[in-house]
């Protein structure tokens, strides 16, 4: 069913890319800039087709560098904005991920991950951009990254991604992968009234009193948009609360500490994971994205053989739920960490486990998903 504003609602048979596009529309996204790249192109194709009905603007820019900064210009003009890409395109966007973190621009970067490095496997899945998502731009900063495992989650979680970006004024990375992007399942699109949206934190202060980077109690500054008489200055240089550049260690210390702390101190609020059979488990599988669905079968196979194995499925991967993994490490024998890369998030698990339990990586170079038996074997080995 469609409403007068072009919003759809009801049950549809959609792939993850199309569901992501509908999720963005449901989140109120009204500006998308992108550049064609497999396997993410369907997201922007659907938005290009749908935006005339919803009043949004889509522009296909000349490259991903342009796309990733055009959305930031749009945010300063008051839009809710997103860009979409994959592998090589995401690599090109990394400088502007840093700009968004530095200038605190709420926006969403969708990465439909494929096999890499370089051109790699454009049409096949990978999860090897997880550390790039966390550390890909230069300098110290924090971001939030979510990892959906179904078309329905591509819709639901991209709305959540927009909400988190508004709450913390931070770029949020939406880490899909080719399998989820091209998997077709039943997707329920909520009615507009059923969607919880976090509004942008516009300042109520008048021009003259407003300072663009004066933080609130939660360390997040209030937002003002261009054209409203605030006459603010925004720079990617290290800046003070007025937004003016200051080249000093003091100013750098204050700014970078705040940018990091506004996420770290709120990590508990941001954390989102699903647990299954953690109580009394000897082994816990930590997974995310498409690999969490493969792990579900692997865990069932292992349980059939009498192993007490739990599942911790990360929905928010960054910030990493450090405290939770530390607590678990004290009472279990082993973590098993399958992922479609040569071992990335497992490094975080090892760091948090800190030798208190065994950590088993189940790497996969990409191109397909794990064979569940591989993960089951790792669980059985760890439980022995």
């Amino acid at each position: 069913m469609s409403d007068n504003n072009g919003g759809l609602s009801g049950a549809y048979f959609l792939d993850g890319d199309h569901a992501c596009a509908e999720g963005a529309i449901a989140a109120g996204c009204n500006f998308v800039a992108g550049y064609p790249i497999t396997p993410s192109t369907e997201v922007v194709e659907r938005l290009a087709s749908r935006f005339p009905d919803t009043g949004g603007t889509f522009i296909q820019m000349e490259d991903e560098i342009a796309s990733s900064i055009a959305i930031q210009g749009a945010v300063w003009a008051g839009a809710k904005a997103m860009t979409v890409s994959s592998g090589p395109g995401i690599s090109l966007m990394m400088e502007h991920l840093g700009l968004a973190a530095m200038t605190e621009v709420p926006c969403v970067f969708v990465n439909v991950q494929r096999g890499g490095p370089s051109t790699g496997l454009p049409t096949l899945p990978g999860q090897a951009d997880m550390m790039q998502a966390r550390w890909g731009s230069h300098g110290d900063y924090e971001i939030i990254a979510l990892s959906p495992n179904s078309p329905q989650e591509c819709l639901d979680l991209v709305i959540h991604a927009f909400n988190l970006s508004e709450q913390f004024r931070v770029p949020v990375l939406f880490m899909m992968d080719e399998s989820v992007g091209h998997m077709t399942e039943r997707v329920v699109i909520p009615r507009p009234g059923e969607v919880q949206l976090t509004p942008r934190r516009y300042t109520k202060l008048p021009p003259g009193e407003y300072q663009p980077y004066k933080p609130g109690d939660d360390l997040v500054p209030e937002f003002a948009k261009a054209g409203e008489g605030y006459r603010f200055h925004i720079t990617g240089l290290t800046h003070d609360e007025k937004g003016y550049p200051v080249m000093s260690a003091d100013c750098q210390g204050q700014l970078i500490t705040r940018l990091v702390d506004k996420i770290k101190r709120n990590a508990d609020k941001i954390a989102l994971y699903h647990e299954d059979g953690i109580e009394g488990a000897d082994v816990v599988v930590i997974s995310y994205g498409i690999t969490s669905r493969i792990s579900t079968r692997a865990i069932r196979l292992a349980r059939a053989q009498g192993v007490r194995v739990g599942h911790l499925r990360l929905v928010v991967v960054w910030p990493f739920p450090e405290d939770h993994v530390r607590r678990l490490a004290k009472r279990i024998d082993a973590f098993v960490v399958p992922e479609i890369n040569m071992g990335q998030v497992v490094l975080e698990v090892e760091r948090c486990a800190a030798g208190r339990c065994e950590v088993v990586s189940v790497p996969h170079p990409g191109g397909t998903v794990h064979n569940p038996q591989t993960i089951t074997d790792a669980i059985l080995e760890a439980a022995r």
Binding site: A33, P52, H233, I234
Partner: protein
């Protein structure tokens, strides 16, 4: 060289001087500089060197925005990185100092998300046409509603005087110590061939013409472009033994050839050769916003009509059955 041109600077100077003698100087009765209200004076002194022309262009810009009739609350300025990239920070407007080369795509997003804004990109030659060259040509091709001012000082000044995309053949830079052996861009020709609706070039000697061109460019719909040739006495002039900033202004005065409407193909700038100045292009083409708006109205009305006719075709009673 026309007579009116040779008088331009001296006119401006004498006008300022006559203002000055009328009023007492001192804290109490200090003369208010006419451009001060457009500047973030708390950020002065600025970073530019003595003799640099960027400040001259800012002075022209302040006068231009006073004259152009645009609501200053709606005027946004976007800069990239480099000496000219610092302009945004000194202007009392909504201002954005973005990444190297990417001011134009940022400005594109800003403008498309709120067409009420007037968006000016103010940056240097290296920023706009080397690292940002791809964005420059595509913005001109789209005729996106953005005004671009390019301050061309023939080198990368912020980083110490390296060769750039506009450095004339045979000139010396720190990364071309034996002289440049690649042809520079002819920016008016580049902008025109990509579809810019307004293209002009002046030097910082031509302060009135620069101001006038800025006013015209700001009020032009679609992509408008003004190149301003500027001295860089600290680096380009010093390394090439071209004298001081003042010597350079004299050189601009004596070697500029005003040729409005002339063929941009012949507007190349050779090392210490004549500089062709003037307004080269001023044509009306449908802008990106006009084109997209027309298309969207077309698409949505077609879809609404399809929806209405679909409902009308539906048998009576189906509407109730649907719910």
């Amino acid at each position: 060289m026309s007579d009116t041109m040779s008088d331009t600077m001296s006119e401006a100077v004498s006008e300022a001087a006559s203002d000055a003698v009328d009023k007492p100087v001192g804290d109490e009765g200090a003369i208010e500089n006419p451009v001060e209200r457009f500047l973030r004076t708390e950020r002065m002194p600025h970073i530019w060197c003595p003799g640099c022309g960027i400040g001259t262009t800012v002075n022209c810009f302040a006068r231009a925005i006073e004259k152009c009739g645009v609501d200053l609350d709606k005027l946004c300025i976007v800069s990239g990185i480099g000496c000219t990239g610092r302009v945004a920070g000194y202007l009392n407007l909504d201002s954005f100092h973005t990444t190297h080369g990417r001011a134009i795509p940022f400005a594109t997003g800003l403008k498309l998300a709120n067409p009420e804004l007037k968006v000016v990109v103010y940056s240097g030659d290296g920023d706009l046409v080397a690292i940002g060259g791809n964005h420059f040509i595509h913005a001109a091709r789209r005729n996106v509603d953005v005004t671009v001012f390019c301050v061309n000082n023939f080198n990368y000044a912020m980083t110490g005087g390296q060769v750039g995309p506009t450095t004339p053949l045979d000139a010396v830079g720190t990364t071309s110590p034996h002289g440049v052996c690649e042809r520079p861009f002819n920016l008016p020709f580049l902008a025109k061939s990509c579809g810019a609706g307004y293209v002009a070039r002046w030097t910082t000697y031509h302060v009135r013409q620069v101001t006038k061109a800025m006013v015209e460019a700001i009020n032009k719909k679609g992509f408008s472009f003004v190149e301003i040739i500027t001295p860089c006495p600290t680096l380009y002039e010093r390394r090439n033994r071209l004298g001081s900033g003042l010597d350079r202004m004299r050189w601009f005065k004596e070697n500029s050839v005003i040729s409005d409407g002339s063929d941009t193909r012949y507007a190349d700038i050779g090392f210490q050769e004549k500089i062709i100045c003037g307004k080269f292009v001023d044509v009306d083409r449908p802008s990106f916003l006009e084109m997209t708006e027309a298309k969207m109205i077309d698409v949505t009305s077609k879809r609404r009509w399809q929806e209405i006719s679909r409902r009308q075709r539906r048998p009576i009673g189906d509407e109730a059955a649907k719910d």
